[in-house]
Structure formats: C-alpha cells, structure tokens
C-alpha cells in the first residue's frame, strides 16, 4: 500500500519535467506490478500528459506513452484484464491519446513565427508517424472487432480528423485509417468512411485518399473470390460512386485532373470487382462526361493523361474492343480530348485490337470503332497542319491500315457491309490519308472476292447481295477516289490487282475495264520516266498472267503495252521493256498463247534498240556502254529456245554470242566485272546444258561457245 502511494506520487510529481518520459516508464513498471488496475493507471497517465502542451515535446511524450503502453493494454488474452469493459478502456485510452496528439500536431502549424512556416510544416510531416502510430495500435488490439470498429473507433477517429480542419493532418490520417485497418472493416463501414470525405478541407488531396481506398478494396476483391458477395451485399460500387459525386460537387475548385483521377480509380475498382457489370463502367464514364461537359476543352496535360488512363482501363481489362464499343459513353469521353491525345488514344485502341487479334465483325461495331478513332481517320476542325510530324502521321495511318485488316466477318454479306462502312469512313479522310487507307481496303475487298469465288458453287442467285461484280464496282469507285490524291502509281497498282482478281473470277469485261483504267492512268498521270518504267513492267507482268481475255481484247492490250514500251525515254529502259513484252506472246501454260513469231519480233526489236543505245553511247561518251543489254537479250533467247519456240534457232543464239564477244573485245568498250561475270556464267550454262546431253543437249549441240 505504502509503496503504491509512493510510486504514484513519484510518477505524477515529475511528469512535467522533461524527465516525464522516465516517469511514464515508471508508470509502465507500476502497471506490470499489477498493484492497481492497468486501466486506472493508463487513464491517469494519458490524462496527465496533458501537462505537456509544447507540441513537439508533447508528441514525443505521448508517443512514448503509446509505445510503452502497447503491451499493457487490457486486451483479450492479455494479462492485464480482458473482459468487455476493459477493452473499451483500452480503446478509449488509445483514442484519447490519439486525439490529444493530433491536437498537438495540428497546433504546430499555428504556433511560432510565420517566416519559419515552411520549415515547420516539414517538421510536422516528419512527425506524422507519431500520430499515426496510435491508429496502428488500435488496429492491433484484438478486442477491436467489427462492431467496436464501426461503433466506436471509426466514428471517433473520423470525428477528430474532420474537426481538426488541417490539410496535412486530414490527408495523412485518412490515409492512415485506410491503410491500418483491415479491408473487410472498410467494406462494412464504407458509408461512414466516405461520409467524411466531403467534409474534409478543400485542399486535401481526397483523390489520393479515395484512390487508395479503392485500390485496397479492389485488391481485397482480387485476393479471393469469396469476398465478392460482400461487395455486392454492401453495394460498394453505388456507395463509392455516390461519394465521389459528392466530393466533386462539394469541391468546385478541385482541378479537373483531380476529379478525373477519382473516376479512374473508381473505374479500376469497378473493373476489378465487377468485371461483369458493363453498365457500371458505363455509369462511371457517363459521370465523367457529365463533369467534363460543363468545362471547356481540356488543356491541362495531367487531366488529359488521366482521361487516357480512364479510357485505356476498360480496354486493358477486357482485352477486347468489342466491350468498349458497347459503352455508349466511351466516345463521348473521347470527344473531350484534344486532337493530339485523341490520336494517342486511338492508337492505343488499335494496338489493343492488334495485340489481342480481335476481329471486329459487324458493320455497327465498325461504325462505332471508327467513331472512336476518328481522330486518325479524318482531319479535325481546328488542326494545324504544321504541327503534324510526317513520321508520326505515317505511323498513325499505318496503324489504321493494319486495323482495316482486322475488320472481318466470315459471312460475306456482313463483310460487304463492313467494307461499305469502312469505305464510307475512309473516304472522309482527305487525300493525305487515302494513300494509306485505300490499299488495305482494296485488298480486304479482294480477299472477299476471292472467297466468294471459291464458294460460288454453293451460293448462286441474283438475290445474293454480295456478288463479286458489286464488289468490283465498289472497288472501281474506291480506287478512283485515289486520283484526287494524286497518287497515280498506287492507283495503277491497285487497278492491276483488281484486274487480276477479276481475271480469277472470269469477269472479262471487268478486268478489261480495270486495265483500261490502268492504261489511262499511265498515259495521263504517270509522267516521271522512272515511274513509267516501273509501271510498264507491272502492266506487262499482270497482263502476262491474264488468261480470260479474248483475242481481240488481248491484242489491244498487248499492243498498247508494247507500244508504251517502245516509247520509253531511255534506250536501255526501252530495250528492257520491249524484251519483257516478248513474254506477252508466250505464256508457258498448256493452253497459253504461243506466238513465236511475235516473240522473235520483240527480241529483234530489243536488239535493235540495244544497238542504238550502244551507238548513242559511242557518240556521247566516246566509248560504247557495257554489253549488259545484249547479254540480257541473250538470256531471253535462251529462255525461249529452251521453251521450244521454233522461231528462236541455235544459229541466232550463236550469232548473238559472237556479237557480244566482238563487242567486248572492241577497244572502246568498257569492261565491267559484273558484266563479265554475267556473260561468262551464261556461257557456262550453255556449256552445262550441252554436256548434260539429253534432249536439251542435242538442241544446244549446234551452238559453239
């Protein structure tokens, strides 16, 4: 009894000195001695700590109190008591200490000279853990069950948080509450917790707080599927969504990006907790649209970034653009982005489609999709052309081109609709984009044509909407659109492609029409000589493969082609085009045309041109050019010779070889290593054929090398 009195008197006598900590320690020893109920001593101690009103010293003293009393709280299973009442006492004790510490901590902000304010704030934020520790202790008391948390701990803590009216404290403590207590408690007390949010100071970063809460909850939901019913039961989504709405309403000064961040977190939460509830996602987006619609177009970088995050989240989650297309508010959110970001977003969407190999299979979806990525498809009203980087533009348009190939349906009818839809959109794109977008469309359409052709046996009838003919008409118009670009080379290629496809479908008039277009383009648009060379070779190549033309049509076309060949500007080009034309008359097929005479004519003509070229070179440079052309022609001779063209004789070959030899030995010819190699390997080939014997060997017999 006596000892007890003394101990008590010692503890309190000197509490106020800086030795206070020591005497608190004594207090803890005293509790251990169990001479007085722990709760009484704790109550006394926490009360006496009020004597320290100096914020920093008070904080440390109380922190020390918190620390030494931790293992002495009358908790369930503790040796210092443990019935229901004493848990209340323990909680009361910690809460009181918490309240007082927070008061001291907040007071730091107001005391002392103004010029040191910044320094003080820094100190304060370093001290925050001292305050937060109390909450941590509370969370570790076993006796704090859900009921106790809901009825006592949380309301009291929140009351303190709200009433302290201090930015730093509110932010930190909210965060603390969210972090230290278990997820299921949060879930069950969402309403209370969220109710406090709109009451916080306007400068408090509520979005961080709420995001963290939602992150935690969504992690919790992800941790096990068993807890999901709980979420449904408490209506977590509705509550959160409600709370966010309130917070945004109550804080009109909150920057845009802040509110959008909130929506992003909510969306993330929704996606993780209710992946099946697309309507929730749409609701979130709708709320966001509502918020955005009362604002001018977003200029803020951060906000834009958040919107991108908002929009990317569903795509990433569902890995399927289909889902995003179902969200009616999705494009409306995109409307609020500036052009550049809109494009970025569009690229993200396209990349997602590519990555996941999602096929967009209805024209409606195509429409929706193109609405989303319209930033890429057409010029926006207020775009400055200068700001466009050429490479970026190409990159973007290439991705659109890739996208077009992902629009696919097995059903030809639907596919046709898709093509119509795509066409409608891309034709709006302006000439710069057409170059990129038309080719994939054309090829996509051609693919359909080929497929139709393959299954022609099954589907026959005039009422079938998707017929190759129709598609070709469409293609015709589409490619025509390119003429405005102008990109004649590309259009020409596409025409040729179409012609070839028409050939496969046995549609002679169509093919002919395409060829005509190609020739017209060649005549009227292709002016550059190099382009002409390429074009003519393409034409020749394609024409060679055509097998549906009647004699008349074919003649017209081949005639044209040879005519153009001979009219090329440079002699060597002429020569090469002409000898290429020779193939037009000799199709190495069973029922192909084999007009040996005209082949020979072509080759001879080529020889003549080669000669002329040689002479021209002699005149202009004083030395004849390389004998390349001759060797090339020789190779053509050999080809036709082998193919059995009766007009090509061994003697002709022999003559040509000798001609080349003489040319090479003449003084004024330039020798060129690659040329020599080409020629000698040609000769080696003849030699080889001769030695090999057989039919071919015999044929070559007369040729002397």
């Amino acid at each position: 009894m006596r000892l007890r009195e003394d101990a008590r008197s010692l503890i309190f006598t000197n509490l106020c000195s800086m030795l206070g900590t020591f005497f608190l320690g004594l207090g803890s020893v005293y509790i251990k001695s169990k001479e007085a109920p722990a709760k009484d001593i704790l109550k006394d101690l926490v009360e006496m700590c009020r004597g320290i009103q100096h914020p920093v010293r008070g904080l440390f003293l109380r922190n020390y109190l918190c620390q030494i009393s931790r293992d002495k709280l009358p908790d369930i299973g503790s040796e210092y008591g443990g019935d229901g009442d004493s848990i209340n006492d323990a909680v009361e004790f910690v809460l009181q200490n918490f309240t007082e510490m927070n008061k001291l901590w907040v007071r730091m902000h107001h005391q002392g000279p103004i010029r040191e304010k910044e320094k003080r704030e820094k100190e304060r934020s370093e001290l925050r853990d001292l305050v937060g520790k109390n909450l941590h202790v509370l969370s570790q008391i076993d006796g704090v069950d859900l009921d106790m948390y809901r009825d006592t701990v949380l309301p009291r803590a929140l009351e303190q948080v709200v009433n302290c009216k201090d930015d730093l404290a509110q932010h930190y403590l909210m965060d603390c509450i969210i972090q230290v207590f278990p997820d299921e408690y949060h879930l069950q007390t969402l309403e209370t917790l969220l109710g406090a949010c709109p009451q916080l100071q306007p400068n408090v970063d509520i979005k961080m707080v709420l995001s963290q809460l939602m992150d935690r909850l969504s992690n919790y939901a992800a941790s096990s599927t068993e807890v999901l019913p709980e979420f449904l039961q408490v209506g977590a989504f509705a509550k959160l969504s409600n709370a966010i709405g309130k917070v945004i309403d109550s804080q009109p000064e909150m920057p845009v990006f802040g509110s959008i961040t909130l929506y992003v977190s909510l969306l993330t939460f929704t996606l993780r907790v209710h992946p099946d509830r697309l309507d929730y996602v749409d609701q979130v987006l709708a709320a966001c649209v509502k918020k955005l619609s009362c604002l001018p177009r977003i200029e803020d970088k951060k906000a834009t970034k958040q919107i991108v995050a908002l929009l990317s989240a569903p795509i990433e989650k569902y890995n399927d653009i289909d889902t995003a297309l179902k969200l009616s508010n999705y494009p409306r959110v995109m409307d609020h982005l500036d052009n550049a970001t809109n494009k970025v977003m569009a690229v993200v969407i396209i990349q997602s489609i590519m990555k996941n190999n999602t096929y967009i299979s209805t024209s409606d979806k195509v429409d929706a999709l193109f609405e989303l990525i319209k930033g890429l498809i057409r010029d926006m009203e207020d775009t400055d052309d200068e700001e466009l980087d050429e490479d970026d533009f190409k990159e973007e348009q290439n991705s659109v081109a890739r996208l077009i190939h992902m629009l696919y349906n097995d059903d030809p009818e639907e596919m046709l609709k898709i093509i119509y839809a795509v066409r409608k959109h891309i034709l709006l794109g302006g000439h710069k984009r057409l170059v990129f977008t038309v080719p994939p469309l054309v090829f996509s359409a051609l693919k359909l044509v080929r497929r139709l052709h393959c299954q022609e046996g099954d589907v026959i009838g005039e009422d079938v909407p998707a017929t190759p003919k129709k598609i070709f008409q469409l293609l015709h118009q589409t490619v025509e659109a390119l003429s405005v670009v102008p990109s004649p080379e590309l259009a020409l290629r596409l025409y040729l492609q179409c012609a070839e496809a028409a050939n496969d479908c046995d549609l002679e008039p169509v093919a002919y029409a395409f060829f005509t277009q190609a020739f017209v383009l060649y005549e009227e648009e292709v002016a550059d000589s190099k382009a002409q060379v390429t074009a003519i070779h393409l034409i020749i190549g394609t024409l060679q493969r055509m097998n549906i033309f009647g004699v008349e049509n074919r003649d017209t076309l081949t005639h044209k082609a040879t005519g153009y060949s001979a009219k090329l500007l440079k002699k060597p080009d002429q020569c090469r085009a002409v000898y290429a034309c020779s193939h037009l008359f000799w199709v190495d097929d069973q029922d192909g045309i084999k007009d040996g005479e005209r082949v020979l004519l072509c080759l001879k003509r080529a020889l003549r041109i080669a000669n002329a070229a040689q002479q021209m070179a002699n005149v202009t440079r004083g030395s004849s050019g390389p004998v390349t052309l001759f060797v090339e022609i020789l190779n053509k001779y050999i080809y036709f010779f082998e193919k059995g063209n009766p007009q090509i004789t061994s003697s002709a070959i022999q003559g040509l070889i000798e001609l080349i030899m003489t040319e090479m030995q003449s003084d004024n010819s330039l020798s060129e290593p690659s040329m020599d190699a080409f020629f000698s390997s040609t000769l080696r080939y003849i030699q080889f054929q001769k030695q090999k014997g057989g039919v071919m060997g015999e044929k070559y017999e007369p040729v002397k090398v």
Partner: protein, 301 residues
C-alpha cells in the same frame, strides 16, 4: 550560566528517561547547532511520565536544596533571542534538600498535559517543549538538564471542505478557470484539480504551481513576515490553446509541510498558499495565490 557549568564540571550525570521510551514513536528534530536528534513524540492530553536518574561522579557528592522537574512549552522569537515565552509550565518537586551520594532515581509524571500547540521550527520562530530538571544548590549554580520532546496534534477530517474554484484573467488577454478539489488538505493529501483555459492571447511558456509558506511573527508594528516557497511544480509545458484543460495532481507528502497555525499564543502564525504561476515567452509571470488550510490527520486512521 552555561559557561559556569563548563568551568566547573558538574559533579553528576542527570538522565531523563521516558517511561515508554522503547515503544514510543520518535521523530527527528533539528537542534540549534544544526544537528538532528531523535526525540519522542507526544500529543496533547497525553501523560508524560518517566524517571530522572542522578548519578554523582565517583567519590563526589551532590549537595542540594531541592530537585525539581519542569515541563515547559516555550516560544522563542529570533528577533528577541534568548527570551522565552513560556505558555505552559508545570513543576514537580522530586526531592527535598539533602545530599546525594550515589545513583538515585526519581519517578515523575505529568498527567494529561494540555499541549495545545505543536512543536515548530521556523525561520523566525521556534516552538518547543522541554523537560527541565533542576538541582538547586546554595552558593553555587544550579545543575540543569534539558530533554526536548516533540508534540503533534491531530485534527479530524473537516466536515466542510469546499473546493476552491475561481475564474481569473486579464481582460482580452488571458482567462483561466482553476479548480482545486478542496480547501483543506492533510499533510499526505493530493491536490487534484484542473486549469481550464477560456481565452489565451498570450504565448505561455509554462505553468507552475507553487506551495508557499507564510510565517508571520510578532504583532502590531513589530510584525515580521517571512515567505518561503516550499515546492515548485511544473503543471504544463508549452502553450495551450483555448479550450484546453490541464490536470493537476500534486502530492503533498514529499514536502515538509506543517499544519496551518493561526495566531499561536498571539506570537506567530504559519499559513500555506497555492500559487498558480503562468510564465509567458517574455518571462513575464502571471499568478494567483490561494490560501489552503493544512491539517494533520492521524496516521493509520
């Protein structure tokens, strides 16, 4: 008188032995030379009895004209040193005139002695009780022996013991309300109270509670007042804000307090005060003093 004793060694030893010396509680007192000794403790209305033994030095005899023992209650004021005011004086004759050759013991008893005042050793005043044995002699000086003892009187717990509650302050600057749970405290009591800040516009650095003793001696124009601060107890450190309430727990037992003495024999008074001091950042002190009554409660009651 004393140096005469020194010059001529007394021819005998005198011892005063209390009857219940072995069982009686002893307390320490401070003597004039600064040393402390243990003396027995009595309270009023007790019977003080014992034995006086006189033992002459070997080979000597003591001639006397009577032996007496006195019980004296004296007040000594230091500004009037050497003058004792005896407020109590009881005498017992022990022996008739004669001679003492060998050790001789005289029992004595003062029954139910009225000792209204407590022993007190203050700054300017001392109140003490002594037993004084005098061997009176002719021609030569008397042989005298003193034995001091201590008196403490106990008071029952007062039936009326109101708390002290008061609101004080400086207009528009500082308003506080303080409360001490009682106005009368026993010596081992705890002062429990609190200070409630109603308005704080000054920057307070700390707050202390002092226990002060005010001893006043003499009367009329010759009154001397001496104030001592016995305890300084820091109640609060740092600046409080409005609405803060600071608890007080002050245990009195560590301090050497005496009960409050009011007008002892018209010679002196001892009073106790609680002084609440607030110190601001410029070291200005604001204080409020309140008298408390201290009383002695019978221990183990």
């Amino acid at each position: 008188m004393n140096y005469l004793i020194g010059a001529f060694k007394p021819p005998c030893h005198i011892k005063i032995i209390f009857a219940d010396a072995k069982t009686r509680k002893q307390v320490s007192i401070k003597k004039e030379n600064g040393q402390t000794t243990m003396v027995p403790l009595f309270q009023s209305q007790e019977t003080i009895g014992g034995e006086v033994s006189i033992e002459p030095l070997p080979g000597k005899k003591v001639e006397h004209i009577g032996v007496k023992i006195e019980l004296l209650g004296q007040i000594e004021l230091y500004f009037d040193r050497g003058n004792f005011y005896d407020f109590t004086s009881l005498v017992r004759e022990l022996d008739i005139p004669g001679e003492i050759y060998e050790r001789k013991a005289y029992p004595f008893e003062f029954s139910t002695v009225e000792m209204p005042y407590e022993s007190y050793n203050g700054v300017n005043v001392r109140l003490r009780y002594i037993l004084k044995v005098t061997i009176s002699r002719n021609y030569v000086s008397n042989i005298v022996e003193y034995q001091e003892f201590c008196v403490r009187n106990y008071t029952p717990t007062p039936t009326i013991n109101n708390s002290i509650k008061m609101e004080v302050g400086i207009e528009d600057c500082l308003h506080i309300e303080f409360e001490y749970n009682k106005s009368k405290y026993n010596l081992k009591d705890v002062i429990i109270g609190k200070i409630y800040f109603l308005l704080v516009r000054i920057k307070i650095k700390n707050m202390e509670l002092e226990i002060r003793r005010r001893e006043s001696t003499g009367s009329g124009p010759n009154t001397y007042v001496e104030t001592e601060t016995l305890a300084k107890f820091e109640l609060m450190d740092g600046a409080p804000v409005r609405g803060e309430s600071i608890p007080i727990r002050l245990f009195l037992s560590p301090y050497e307090l005496t009960p409050t003495y009011r007008n002892i024999n018209n010679k002196f008074s001892v009073k106790y005060y609680l002084n609440l001091v607030l110190v601001d950042e410029e070291d200005r002190r604001y204080f409020k003093q309140q008298e408390i009554t201290v009383f002695r409660l019978l221990e183990n009651q």
